[in-house]
Every structure is written in structure tokens, then in C-alpha cells.
Amino acid sequence: MKISRRWLEAFLRQPLDAKDVAARLGMLGAPVDAIEPIGADLTPFVVALVTDVRPHPNADKLRVTTVDDGSGTIFQVVCGAPNVTAGQKYPFARLGTVMPGGMLIEKRKLRGEASEGMLCSARELGLGQDHDGLMTLDTEALPGTPLLEILHDSGDDRLDVDVTPNRPDLLSHKGVARELAASYGVPYRLPEVPGEVELDLPVPGRYTDQVQVGGVKLSIVDHGCGRFFAAVIRGVKIGPSPAWLQQRLEGAGVRSINNVVDVTNYVMLELNQPMHAYDAATLRGPAVIVRSARAGETLVTLDGTTRTIAEGSVVIADAERVIGIAGVMGGHDTEVTDRTTDLFLECAWFEPSRVRAARRAANLSTDASQRFERGTDRWGAVDAFRRAIRLLVTVAGGTLDGPAVDVFPVPSHPPRIFLRPARVAQVLGVELAWSTIEKQLVKMGATVVSKPEDGRMAVDVPGWRPDVTTEIDLIEEVARLYGYDQLPTDLRGFRPGTRQDDPAWGAAAKIRRGLAASGFSEVMTLPMVASEHPDAVRLLNPLSAEQGMLRGALLPSLVHQVEANWALHTGDVRLFEVGTVFAKGAPGDRPAEAMHAAFVLTGARQPMHWTDGGKPPLWDRWDARARFEQLVALAHPTAGVQVDEARWVARRPDGTIVGHCGPLAADAPPWAAPLFGGEILVTQAVAAAVPFVPVPAFPAATRDLALLVPDACAVEAITTLLLQRGQRHALASVAVVDEYRGKNLPEGRRSVAVRLVFRAADRTLTDADVEQAMGRLRTSLERELDVTVRTS
């Protein structure tokens, strides 16, 4: 909401500082996002006296003047204004001045006559629309006096107030002035308007739904309209608005259109009551009917667009057609034009949800719909209606045709709410005196109507606060107006929570720390992706096709990040992510969600070191396997890593595959190193504590074996067999130390070297013990796996 500082000043009858206003509104819950000074910077302009005016020798419309600007030098200035008169004072722009429009005033010749400066009109100074001539300064000030010193109109400030959806009252200057009046502790009152006509307005209050107003038949059929004021004013003259009205509107960021439209906008911005003026001559019937839209009805709105109105929307119609979407926008055919002489003025209250539905259906949000949706004051509307009529007659002339009417189908009063001071203390944590509470309620405009017989306050809530409907709403108002910062901040005793941490949180934290410690960088990619996976969860209203699905896996997004790094010529990339993935749920159910963790790696295994001779070793598949094993241990401790075709998988004891790892396909530049990655489902099971195993008390014996392994035999089969058969022989571990394929080996075999470590828990093994074991193991390998010992 754009608020004019000067308009507020007119309410409070005192000058205001825009920054101070902003600070106070912020502490009352309506922060000011920006303060925009309006009106040009008039600092460089001075008062100048025109001492002589003579005709221009070469141009009929120009004059040559002599100007005294108080500097001691007398200037010759060429001027085109018809009203320039010797002996008068005018605003003067000296050479070098930059005009509000950006033009630099330089010495130049106009039709052969030198001109050393410029005499200014009000419009050139941004002080109004008057461009008929120079701005005559009726002042005693001497030439050379800064213009700002003699101008009382020193511009305005436009405050952009951030209004929360619960506070429709702050969409008006009166509402903001009310808050400020409470803050400054001063009264506020509706601004007086120059030349305002006192009208003897009939008291409205004919609670009937079939009335005549100025010869127009009015009926309210749809109860989405809760109140409808109407008046017919005949004999108005459409024209520009007076300066004061234009300036107020400009201060609030609204363009002046004509006197009638400006008045309706003015009252809306002042009192938060949108209104509409129809050209009464265009009404067919003549009748105005508030009813529900029928199927297929259309309206050309004020903006010239033809709109199909959703069936059931509240509309304003005449005898034949729709002339407005209630609370949203009026129609083009009945709008006020330069030729309009008779007005039908509408001032109504519409059900907020009906206006919201209609504006959504029409996809048309307006200043009016914004206000009706949030709730206008159906009881205070009468004041807005009267002000509008008075202002219209003041600025556009005309007279009321018959009494104005007020149709109030279901009369009501603003709500009365009971407030218990004890409840205030229970919620706020401080005991506030009865009088303190009452004082805050009065600040918001409420009336405390009864004495505390049963310990409760009966509070009549003002109609402009539709958000205040229950006791807790009043308690918030008490706290707000008392000042949140006036309440204490002492930490009091509390009961700690008894709920356990969600295990997924600890699991994710463990994975993050583990992978970061292993040299990976954590990323957070967007969960919305372009996947076309049949099981993917689709969004109904995605931002773009690239973000049309919810991801079912993390690795594709990580691969994209690697590709982005390659595009930036970064070849060493190690990334991981822990995040949610989605899959379709049961029909009618929420999607299935799971936490996954994934990593990718490519490039050098370590940062470049000079001992590598400029060619650091690259990550290979064995690094990837080890990182995957690390990830599985962190994320899914019950799963084991196994070979599955050309990749590794993590398999749970029940056989379910919960993760995979291997080389990844990507859009790689020719220089890129191989890319590997892995992904796993994170379990939320907390791993059991591992019991302590005593450290060995006796020394180990180590033996290496070079084995000739048939190509079809997996090393895993050999190590498994060795460990099984070696159990009885105190074999503690088997490690693969080398693999050789190639020359000097029998056909169809490779050489694999393993290191066996023997260790008994209760004694030192002798050479004989170990040799006996080695013999048995060799035999097992030969018999069961056709693996022989290589003798070199």
C-alpha cells in the first residue's frame, strides 16, 4: 500500500518525518519497505525578479527579459511564457542547473538572442500540472532567495507499507493515521477539503431490497452483497480534478483521470471503501440489480477486455446486461466519460470469499478486489458514502436526485467480544492492569462497554477490523499496542522435551560428516527435475518442464553438476548429497518418500603434488568401490557390497538391493577423467554398538602366496574359501596384494598374490604350525577351485 506522508499529516494536523513514521509503523506490524521522495529536488532554484520585458526581434511568441537573480549580475533570458511581466518574481534556473526532467540549463541563443538561464513554470518544477505560464511568486523575498525557503509545498514522501493480509484497515490513509495517532498519542480527524460543500444528506437506513433512487430501480438479489448504498447525482461537469486532489492521489501513487473517478479513488485510498460511479444515462431500465452471473455472461471491463464471467459470481447488472463484476471491476459501456452528466454512485459491501472467487475466475486483481477480499467495513461504509457524495458535488457540481438509499438486507452490528484479563496474563506472561488493557483497546478504536462484574471486559470491535473476532485477537491487539518490546525477556524454567530425535536426522548427519571428512563437498540440488521416469511424481503446476517431476534418485542431478564443472574446465570433482527422493504412492495416498545419499568422483585422487611429476594419479573404479563401501557402512550398515553384472550393489540380508555404484555415463569433454558414483537408501535403523574385541596377545606369522587363478574364478571365491578353511588353522586375515595378467602365464589363467596372516589367541604359532596350514590351504584351493600355487 502506497501511503502519502502529506495525507497523513492532514489527518494528524502535524508535520511528520517519513523515516520516523516508517520506524513506528514497523514496530506496529506494518513495515515500510521503501520511502520514495516525490517532487523534484528544488535546492538549486532561486527567486528572481524580472526587471524588463521587451519583444523578441525575430519571434512573435518569445520575449526577451532582463533578470535580477540577486547575484549582482544581470542576465538576459529569452522566455516564451505569455504571462511574463516586468516587476514580478518567478522561480529561476541559473546556468548549470539540471531541471527535474534532466535538461541542463546552458547559455544558448534563441532565434539570435542570447539566453542565460530559465524562468520556470510550476510543471517544469514538478509542482503541478499548470503549464499555462510561469509560476508567479507572490513574495516579499529578495532575488537570490532559495526557492525552497518560500515554498510551503516541499514535496511529499510516498511510503510503501507492507500490509499483512489480516489488516484491510491499513489499506487506507485513515487506518494508517489511526495507528500513528496511537503511537504519537495525538488525535486524528478526517482532513478538511478545500471548498467542501455541506450537504443535507438524508439519513440512510431503508432496510428494504426493492427501492428507487433517482428514478433508478435498485434490487439486491444475491446475498453476496451485504449492503448497498446508492445515489444519483445529476448535472455534474466532468473535468480535471483540482490540484489538491491530484496531489493527494499522486502521493499515494495513483494517476489522476477525471474529477469523478478521482473522487471514488480518493475515498477508497482514504477510507478503504472502493466505490464505483456509473454514467446513469447508460443504465438500461433504468435499473441496477445485484445478482448472480448466469452461464456464459460476458462483460467488457473498464480496461477494454472482454471477459467471460464465471457462473455464480456476484455481478452488478442493469435491466438487460451485466455492467460490473461486483467488487472487482466495472464495465466499459457504463463508465463515466467526458460527456457524462448524471452519475449513479455505488458504495457496497461484498462477501470477501465471493469477491475472491470472482476475481480468481476472471484472473483480474484490482485495488477494489484486494480490499473487498480482505474485508471492508460494512458499518463504516456510510461515512465513506457521504464523503464521496460531498466531494463529488464539490469538485464536479451537480445535485442529488432524491434521497440516497441504503439497502442492508440483514442488518447487523460490529461484534462484541469478551476479554478476560486473566487470559491476557496466561498468554502474554505478565499481569497487565485493567486500565492498561483498556487503554490499548481504545487505541485500536474499540469501545470497552461494561464494568468487570464477572471479571470480563465486553469489547465492541470497530467495523474496520474484520480480523478481530475472538478473545485471542484482542489479546494480540493489547500486546501489539502495548509494545512487544515492553514485555520482559527473562528466561524462565521449562520442562525439557521427552521426544527422541528422529533417527533419520542422526543418520543423515553421520553420512554428511563421514563423506566430508573423506574429501567430498556437499551440494543441495533442486528436487524438481525433468525426469520422464514412469514412476516419477508429476507436478500439477510446475515452474517449467525442466522442473516438472520430483526426483526418484540423486545421482542424475549430481552428474549434471559434474558436467557443469567440466564446462567450467574443472576436472577434479567430488560431490555428495543427502536428500529426499520420491516415488508414486498408493492411489489416493501421498507419494512414497525416502532419504538417499549419493556421491560422484572424477579427476585426480589428490591435489597435484610435485612428486607426481605433473601427472597425479586419477580416481579409478577401486577408489569408487572403497568409497561406496564406506557409504554403505554409514548409511545402510546391514547391507553388503556385491557384484551385480558390471556394477556393485548394496544388498540387504533379505536380498533387496538398496544401492549401487560404478562408472557413470555423462556428457564428458575428451579430456575428462573417468566418472564414478554411487547411491544408497539411508536406513533409519540405529546401528547396534559393536562389542570390544581384545587386542591380540601373541605375534602373527605372515605368508604370501602367488596363485594361478582360472579366469572364471573370482578372487572373492578364493578369499572366502581361504577364510573358511583357514579358520581351524588360526588364519586371521587374507589380503589381495597383487594381480598380474599377461605373458609367462598358462593360457586362461592370471596370477593373484595374497597375503595370509595367521595368529592364535593363546600361543605363538611355530613355523611347523604355519607350514602345515599352508599345505592344507593349497590343497583346498587346488581341489575346490582349480587354483594352483605359482612357482617362479
Partner: protein, 355 residues
């Protein structure tokens, strides 16, 4: 006992003993093996040979030979020590210690993770535990039970991403969506068991906002909920002030401004003194000297009633904040999109595992 002079046959060995202090490291070791080696050392061989000598000669040579052996051993040890010391002092000649060391890749945690972890730790100290909830939600949990009136302008504050029902469209109020805030987890926690509650809720939330320098369609939020008998607005102020001073430093100034959220009443925003200008006003704080850090309020009566709690007995407060914004302020990031990319040049700057 007078010392028997060396046997003349030992003279060449004496000469080699004399040369030991001048030997270079490699030569020294070779000489030590040549003289004292257990298998083929010359002195060793002579000592072994003693047994075969006649007793007289054994006497004549034996003592001298053993003495010589000890002297050689001492000389070798002394020279070794000398050379080791020399190696260290001559480093600049033989080894350039200014050459770079062999590094490992530094891993990094995401700045948002770091911020969230710190926040969680502070609230853990205040008796809160971590609760999580689904990111795909239903309208009831995301809006209805949080006291968003159906079809109310408050919904306009949340540009919502809805899920394709893949079948018959669902009626308004029963649609599936991506949660627009972590607050539905409040409801799930309260539905899960009786009060008191004291939880912090970190998680990803979604809005139908395209990426720009300060907006993202998915971002982190961390929410808190405390419900018990006797919790008041003073407890809210005190807890969150304490948090701010633990999180940002003991001198941190805070202020509470009225605000509006459908699920809290009274509602507030907490600002902290701008740390860039120390309250003087700068571009970062739009000249106000304050930075908005979190929204908060007393849990709305309707929210409590909705989960079957009597608001006359149970009261509580809730709060929520955006770790992305905090991370951007902390690291001076000009664009939120930097937090969604995998550019190693950016990530590597987030360095250590902590501040």
C-alpha cells in the same frame, strides 16, 4: 695390567679405523659391514679365526682385536650420529624443505547444513529434540489444520506447487502438494502423542517461485515448537533472544515486531541488530540497522483445538527461519543460486566443518 700393544698384523685395520670419521654416509655403512658384518666382516672373521691360533698368538692378538672391534663400533656410531646431525643442518643443500607437502582433498559441508546444525545444537541445549516430516503433504496439514481459512488471502503468501493426482482431480482442501513450510510437522508431532512438546524441525520446503538472486523454488527452513502448561509470550521472547545471542554473539541486540501468520497469535518477527553496520544503517539492512531473522508467535488456539488440545490448559510458541538467508548473510553470498550449484570453486571456499 699393562696394555699389550697392537699386533703388527692389525695395522691396516687401525688405518681404516682412523679413516672412519671422514667417511660419507654410504661409505660408512659399507665399511661398517665390511669390518663388522656378522657373516663376512673382516674383524668378525679374525675373531672367529682366533680359536684356531696357537694359545700364544691368541693371547697376543685376541685382546687387541677385541679392543679394536669396540673402537670401530664406537667410531661408526659416532660418525653415524655426526652424519645424521649434518643431514638436518645441511637440509637446504640436500632437501628443500620449502617444497610443498602432499595434500588431501578437503571435504566441505554445505553452508546450509552448517547453519542448520548450529541452530539445532543451540535448541538441543534448551531441551528441544529434532522432528522430521514428509515433504509431500496434503492441504489439511499444510493449510487447514494450521488455521488457514479455506480460500483466504493468507494463502496468497504461499505460492504452492501441487502434485498431479494422476487420476480424478481432488477437491480443494484435499489436494496433495509440496509443503510450503515446515509447519505441518508441528501438526504431525502434536498428533503423534500427548504434550509437552519441545521440537525443532529442519527440512526442505517448496514454493512456486522461479529462481532469482533471492528466491528459490525449494529451500530449507527450520521450525520450532514448544507446547506445555504455562508457556507464555515472555518465554517466546526469552528463548529466542537467548538463541540469537548464542547463535550470533552475546552482544546481539534483538527486537520483536508484530506480524501475521495464520497459525500463531500473537505473531511476531524477530530482528537482530545488523552486524555489518552495527545498527548504524547500511545497504544490507536497508538503512534500518536491523535484519529480520525469524517469524514466531504463540501457537494459535485453533491449531491446538484442531489436534485435540484444550487451549485453556496448553499454550505454546512456534518459530521458523530460513537457513539459506542466514548462510547468505554469513558468507556474504550475493545470489541464492550459489547454494544450489556444484561449482567446486564455490564449494571449496566453504572450507572447514563449521564456521
Amino acid at each position: 695390567m699393562s696394555e699389550s700393544p697392537d699386533h703388527p698384523s692389525l695395522a691396516p685395520l687401525r688405518a681404516r679405523l682412523a679413516a672412519i670419521p671422514t667417511l660419507a654416509a654410504d661409505d660408512l655403512e659399507a665399511e661398517a659391514v665390511a669390518l663388522l658384518g656378522r657373516k663376512a666382516g673382516e674383524v668378525t672373521a679374525l675373531l672367529k679365526g682366533l680359536a684356531a691360533l696357537p694359545l700364544e698368538e691368541k693371547r697376543a692378538v685376541g685382546g687387541a682385536l677385541n679392543r679394536l672391534k669396540d673402537e670401530i663400533e664406537l667410531a661408526v656410531e659416532a660418525r653415524r650420529a655426526e652424519l645424521t646431525a649434518a643431514t638436518a643442518s645441511l637440509a637446504s643443500r640436500d632437501v628443500d624443505l620449502t617444497m610443498p607437502g602432499r595434500a588431501q582433498w578437503p571435504g566441505t559441508l554445505h553452508p546450509v547444513t552448517v547453519v542448520v546444525d548450529e541452530i539445532v545444537e543451540i535448541f538441543r541445549g534448551l531441551g528441544f529434540s529434532v522432528a522430521l516430516g514428509p515433504e509431500a503433504e496434503d492441504e489439511q496439514h499444510n493449510f487447514g489444520m494450521l488455521n488457514f481459512p479455506p480460500d483466504h488471502p493468507a494463502m496468497d503468501m504461499h505460492d504452492t506447487l501441487y502434485l498431479d493426482p494422476a487420476g480424478a482431480p481432488r477437491p480443494v482442501g484435499e489436494r496433495m502438494l509440496l509443503r510450503t513450510h515446515t509447519s505441518p510437522v508441528q501438526i504431525r508431532v502434536m498428533q503423534d502423542g500427548p504434550p509437552p512438546y519441545r521440537v525443532v524441525i529442519p527440512g526442505i520446503v517448496y514454493r512456486n517461485d522461479p529462481f532469482d538472486p533471492s528466491h528459490a523454488p525449494a529451500f530449507s527452513q527450520i521450525e520450532g515448537l514448544a507446547v506445555d502448561e504455562g508457556i507464555t509470550f515472555v518465554d517466546l521472547k526469552a528463548t529466542l533472544t537467548h538463541f540469537a545471542q548464542r547463535f550470533l554473539g552475546p552482544d546481539t541486540r534483538v527486537r520483536f515486531r508484530p506480524s501475521f501468520f495464520p497459525f500463531t497469535e500473537p505473531s511476531a518477527e524477530m530482528d537482530v541488530g545488523c552486524r555489518l553496520c552495527d545498527g548504524a544503517g547500511c545497504a544490507a539492512c536497508k538503512g534500518t540497522g536491523w535484519m529480520e531473522i525469524l517469524g514466531c508467535g504463540m501457537v494459535h488456539e485453533n491449531v491446538l483445538r484442531g489436534v485435540g488440545l484444550d487451549p485453556e490448559r496448553w499454550t505454546g510458541f512456534a518459530f521458523g527461519m530460513g537457513p539459506q538467508r542466514i548462510a547468505m548473510q554469513r558468507y556474504g553470498l550475493p545470489d541464492i543460486r550459489l547454494l544450489y550449484g556444484g561449482d567446486m570453486r564455490v564449494l571449496s571456499q566453504f572450507g572447514g566443518i563449521g564456521r
